[in-house]
Symmetry: C2
Subunit: 351 residues, 2 copies
């Protein structure tokens, strides 16, 4: 998990232009829509008759990641995955990214090359072109800004605001794992800070660590939906936690919802780690975030298409305008959902 | 120049979603190609048959701007102008931007609203839609990442790599002013740090200060070229200084060049301030940067179109592959041009 780096080239040895040349020397364009990539004032893209999707995300050191346990290659990989997840959440296909990278001189050229290697690995996996960007120094830490473009036929694009009352609420995979992985990493960091001779004990929980360090955007679902001839009625990706995301769908579609606690998919390893930290596993799913699964709604008429498919989990349904947004617990009690965004989990769940 | 701010709302009072609502409440979409703006996972854009241009730029506190003399509204305005300048440099029209904003809790909501007001003013001026973004906290300082999309008919797009030997080198306005403005601001900051009772003496040099604090992207040139039925053979915007930019055109087009010192347009105020600091005005033009004028080449066949037009300055010509990149001084001496990027002016010119 902690790479050795024998050679260190100071950023000041290269200067901006040579650094960009070095960072981008492995960039290859694969998309037919990429007319011109890196190297001019702007990239040239050509989307004939398709609609263009655009999304941008920032990853800031000390806020979104901690260099003490985030390998740089994973950071680059995750930064791209987090962004293309937004395109998948529109039922679109990611096609190009532009990368803004700000670093202090504490980082070596080799460190930045590892970040790029991670980004290009994610691009390769999803056939995405890295078509431009900006590289600059920062006064402290590392900041990654990624903008992603995607395409879709207009009829296939799925918004947040178009769910209907009675639609089934579906999730593409298990939730809460990324958050329990984060808890483990934070604990090992504290142990290591107190006694650096103690090696991290992380081997027992590979799945939850993989979920936080190396998330996968569910672009495969976009192809799966096309194969199944299924267009969700609304969709969002789970970056902030199930509670926050379902509330977005409800608010944008002006509807209520009922989620069923016992239907929320949670991996056994997530349950084990959550219990290790005395946290209810469902709390991790509702408020943990960073799972990057897709949360979507489908018409009841499409029930047969998704029923019994191992990859989909029906966890509730949308209710009429004005009705509450509720979680129905295993004991049958309806409790109101509360969104937790930015100022939520980091303060509350560590208290 | 230094605004009063009576009310201060802590970022923590609002949380992420309310903050975004508040920052984006004045956002209006004007472009026909904007199908869906802010509020979903990604914006939806539609460019039928036109080519899409994409560019991204970062502005980092302490690197690209200094909050002690950069009013926040100007910062927002400049951040947008700097980005759309890259689209103008492709002979395209900017259409949409996405904004990434990372701030520490030292900034108030009102401060961020001023930045947005500046960005929206620049958008309004050029009929650009702000269609998305990401807002997050940072551990220190303020970071703005802007991605801009633009459009152009394929035949109109101008690259850096397509200049021909013999083409005339043209610039759209005077150079070096922004750098002398920066010198003034830095000097006043030092004076103020030593004795805060001394008020800044800036009123005598409004033009050079305007050039550094409130630059204008030359999108008007794109329309002017269309009116004149002129397509430059290559083009770039001047963000890093004339020397660096002409060398980009030369290297991308595999040509040499001759620039004539006495043809480089420099405003009298720039000359005055440069001499105040014992710097040769031409050095400010060559290495200063941030003027955001367009540097382009035109075929000699188009000489009549631009000759005698007050708005264009012919400063040299491109030469054959393998010939040097030279500045011909007023005394007739040919001296080799050297590019100064990131690690150039900040170290060398202050030494």
């Amino acid at each position: 998990m902690f790479e050795n780096r024998e050679k260190r080239t100071e950023l000041s040895e290269l200067g901006e232009f040579k650094l960009i040349d070095r960072l981008t020397k492995n960039v290859a364009n694969r998309q037919k829509s990429t007319i011109l990539g890196i190297g001019d004032d702007a990239a040239i893209l050509n989307f004939d008759g398709k609609q263009v999707l655009l999304s941008t995300d920032l990853l800031i050191e000390g806020i979104h990641f901690d260099m003490s346990y985030m390998p740089l290659k994973h950071l680059g990989y995750k930064a791209v995955m987090v962004n293309i997840s937004d395109i998948a959440a529109m039922n679109g296909t990611p096609t190009q990214i532009a990368v803004g990278l700000a670093v202090s001189n504490r980082y070596s050229v080799e460190a930045l090359e590892e970040i790029y290697a991670g980004m290009l690995l994610a691009c390769l996996k999803h056939n995405i072109d890295l078509v431009g960007g900006d590289t600059t120094s920062s006064t402290s830490g590392l900041m990654l800004s990624i903008t992603v473009l995607g395409e879709a036929a207009p009829k296939d694009i799925v918004r947040r605001s178009t769910a209907k009352s009675g639609d089934l609420i579906v999730v593409s995979g298990d939730l809460g794992a990324a958050y329990t992985g984060l808890l483990l990493l934070e604990r090992e960091k504290e142990v290591f800070a107190k006694d650096p001779s103690i090696q991290p004990e992380l081997d027992s929980y590979p799945y939850v660590l993989e979920r936080i360090l190396r998330p996968e955007a569910r672009v495969d679902m976009v192809m799966r939906f096309a194969d199944m001839d299924l267009i969700p009625t609304s969709m969002i990706d789970i970056s902030d936690g199930l509670a926050s995301e379902i509330m977005h769908l409800c608010e944008e579609s002006a509807l209520g919802c009922q989620l069923y606690e016992d239907k929320i998919p949670i991996d056994p390893q997530t349950v084990t780690v959550a219990e290790l930290f005395n946290i209810h596993p469902v709390t991790c799913a509702l408020n943990g975030g960073e799972d990057y699964e897709l949360l979507f709604t489908v018409s009841q008429n499409d029930f047969e298409k998704i029923n019994g498919q191992g990859e989909f989990y029906i966890i509730g349904h949308m209710t009429e305008t004005g009705s509450p947004k509720s979680l129905i617990t295993t004991s049958g009690e309806a409790i109101p959902l509360t969104a937790q965004g930015w100022d939520g989990i980091k303060k509350d769940d560590k208290a």
